[in-house]
């Protein structure tokens, strides 16, 4: 494919990502105003009517909605997420402080998900129709149905309370990361196993596999030498898309394990009525999602030249 089509593809994909980001900002703006008056979300409990009116004016909530929206976009463009009225500090700093914890958790979960999901998916495809596939598909369905707050608690009961191998909560180094990563990773594992299975099955049915087998390569050899490389492409894409889900799933897992990431911060901020912090977290995770799906598409094009033509 020529450079022009590639540029065009890139431009349209960037346009799409920008549009999606704008859409996310708009939806979050309107959700924050669903209750009628956002000032009431932000005032401390027991504030007088005068204080509320003053704050409404300070924050500009007495202006027309269109004006509010424009200044909201303007602030965000300058990375100004406002000031937390509870902690009296810029929201950006409060959230940024917690991001590394959530990233560590997401990476841990991704390791668990890939480490379990991909072998399971390959095994399901290669030993298709047998007892292996049936057992593994039960395992995958179970993973998909597991509420993270239950699997998390079971892990705590087993490794924390009974065996006393791992700390039950908090952030005391690597040991504290093991259980939250497992709880969060098992759900994503199912997605990877399903994707890998379908992807490997697709590749196995192709002519080049038959040709390789005809040349005398064993089935396992064909899988190892040829299939996995091609089957990896869709899985890479899913991995990028899954990052957004892992960050969102962290809300519950971090609460179970008292892990000090943005998920726990979001829930604490709702409890202390610190809504600008909640807003910033939702925006952050959604934009990461939009950006990572953009990167996934980009990776797709780079890895697989066949896709560039736009089918």
């Amino acid at each position: 494919m020529g450079a022009i089509t590639l540029t065009r593809y890139l431009a349209s994909r960037i346009g799409q990502a920008l549009l999606a980001s704008f859409g996310v900002l708009t939806i979050v703006f309107f959700i924050m105003r669903l209750s009628g008056d956002p000032t009431l979300l932000l005032v401390p409990e027991g504030a007088s009517l005068e204080q509320i009116a003053q704050l409404r004016h300070e924050l500009g909530f007495d202006r027309p909605l269109g004006m509010q929206f424009l200044s909201y976009l303007g602030d965000l463009a300058r990375f100004d997420f406002g000031e937390s009225l509870v902690q009296r500090a810029p929201v950006l700093g409060i959230v940024a402080e917690r991001v590394p914890y959530t990233v560590a958790l997401a990476v841990g979960a991704l390791v668990v998900a890939l480490g379990l999901g991909i072998p399971a998916g390959i095994a399901m495809a290669v030993w298709r129709g047998g007892i292996v596939e049936r057992a593994l598909s039960g395992f995958v369905l179970a993973g998909q149905s597991l509420p993270t707050f239950w699997s998390g608690i079971l892990l705590i009961l087993l490794f924390g309370v009974s065996l006393r191998w791992l700390p039950t909560s908090g952030s005391d180094g690597f040991a504290s990361l093991v259980m939250p990563s497992l709880a969060l990773g098992i759900v994503a594992m199912s997605t990877f196993a399903r994707m890998t299975r379908i992807s490997v099955l697709d590749e196995l049915s192709r002519d080049y596999v038959t040709a390789a087998r005809a040349r005398g390569l064993s089935r396992g050899g064909a899988v190892l030498r040829h299939v996995l490389r091609n089957a990896a492409i869709p899985v890479v894409t899913i991995a990028a898309l899954e990052i957004g889900n892992l960050l969102a799933g962290a809300v519950i897992v971090e609460t179970v394990f008292a892990w000090p990431g943005i998920g726990q911060l979001a829930i604490q901020s709702i409890q202390s009525r610190d809504f600008l912090v909640v807003q910033a977290i939702v925006l952050f995770v959604s934009l990461v999602y939009v950006f990572s799906s953009f990167l996934a598409d980009l990776a797709y094009v780079v890895i697989d030249p066949r896709i560039r033509m736009g089918r």
């Binding site: 549009l19 999606a20 859409g23 996310v24 708009t26 939806i27 979050v28 959700i31 924050m32 669903l34 209750s35 979300l41 369905l141 179970a142 998909q144 149905s145 597991l146 509420p147 993270t148 707050f149 239950w150 608690i153 079971l154 705590i156 009961l157 309370v161 039950t168 379908i198 099955l201 957004g244 889900n245 960050l247 969102a248 799933g249 809300v251 519950i252 609460t255 179970v256 979001a266 829930i267 709702i270 409890q271 809504f275 909640v278 807003q279 977290i281 939702v282 995770v285 959604s286 999602y289 939009v290 799906s293």
Partner: protein, 277 residues
């Protein structure tokens, strides 16, 4: 297409029926009032016999019978999931049908909105909206109903585009059927299968969402029981009273697992090509 009803499927459907019966008949089945507290009966382990009364699943930190609370928790689960699924199914399908039938700018606007809604992670969208509106059963149902429609719209749209091209639709139009009649009588029945598959998987997801949001304190409010809120209360007593988290969680897992198995089965029936993959 071979209709397969295995023993495994029969067990799964029986368990789901048991869940529905437990939820609907909770007031008849529960041995005690799920809200009645008793300081003398705090944190009794499962199988406790006290004063001639037995507490099969034990009691919680306020001395309430766990079995009764779990039964009433099934109610909250079923109620929220059914209403949320019906609401989002109706909204999503209507939008998808309209977009697929009218095309043009309507389709562009609707499908852009779908893409955008789907780029905000679902649980965060629900958390933010419930937090703004305030927790509670009604808000929970409304929020889930109004944030979960995009998946239905996507499927209804794609299916409508395909079906609208078929000759019998053109024939119906030429026979003088109005837009509404064509959509309702001729397109909808033909796209219902894939929509049901989405609805089943959403049903399991909504049960997980209700429990998750209640676990976070954003769903059903105490003292009313939900599996999620029972577990949130039990999290504090994890070292002393494992039953408070293990039992409600096991119910939740079992129900969602059965729904997912049933959903896979349904998908294979609706789309035999997917089954053969």
């Amino acid at each position: 297409m071979k209709p397969r009803m295995t023993i495994g499927m029969a067990i799964v459907l029986a368990l789901l029926a048991a869940f529905a019966i437990a939820a609907i008949a909770a007031p008849l089945l529960a041995p005690f009032d799920p809200l009645r507290q008793s300081l003398l009966l705090r944190l009794k382990p499962p199988g406790s016999l006290l004063g001639g009364r037995s507490f099969l699943l034990g009691t919680d930190d306020l001395g309430r019978d766990l079995l009764s609370r779990v039964l009433f928790g099934a109610r909250a689960s079923l109620l929220v999931a059914v209403v949320a699924v019906v609401l989002s199914l109706v909204v999503g399908t209507t939008l998808g049908l309209l977009a697929g039938w009218l095309r043009g700018w309507v389709a562009t606007v609707v499908m852009r909105l779908v893409d955008t809604m789907l780029s905000i992670p679902a649980i965060l969208l629900a958390v933010l909206t419930v937090a703004v509106l305030g927790p509670g059963l009604l808000n929970l149902v409304v929020v889930l109903g109004l944030t979960r429609w995009p998946r239905y719209t996507r499927v209804a749209y794609a299916q409508t585009l395909q079906v609208a091209e078929l000759p019998y639709i053109r024939a119906a139009e030429m026979a003088g059927c109005g837009t509404a009649r064509v959509m309702w009588r001729h397109i909808l029945p033909n796209i219902a299968g894939p929509l049901m598959v989405v609805a089943t998987s959403e049903f399991g997801l909504m049960i997980l969402f209700e429990a998750g949001l209640s676990f976070l304190g954003l769903g059903i409010q105490p003292p009313y029981p939900s599996w999620g809120s029972i577990m949130a209360g039990g999290r504090q007593y994890i070292e002393r009273a494992w039953w408070l988290t293990v039992f409600p969680g096991a119910c939740l897992f079992a129900v969602v697992f059965c729904i997912n198995v049933a959903g896979d089965w349904l998908r294979d029936q609706v789309d035999p090509r997917a089954a053969s993959r």
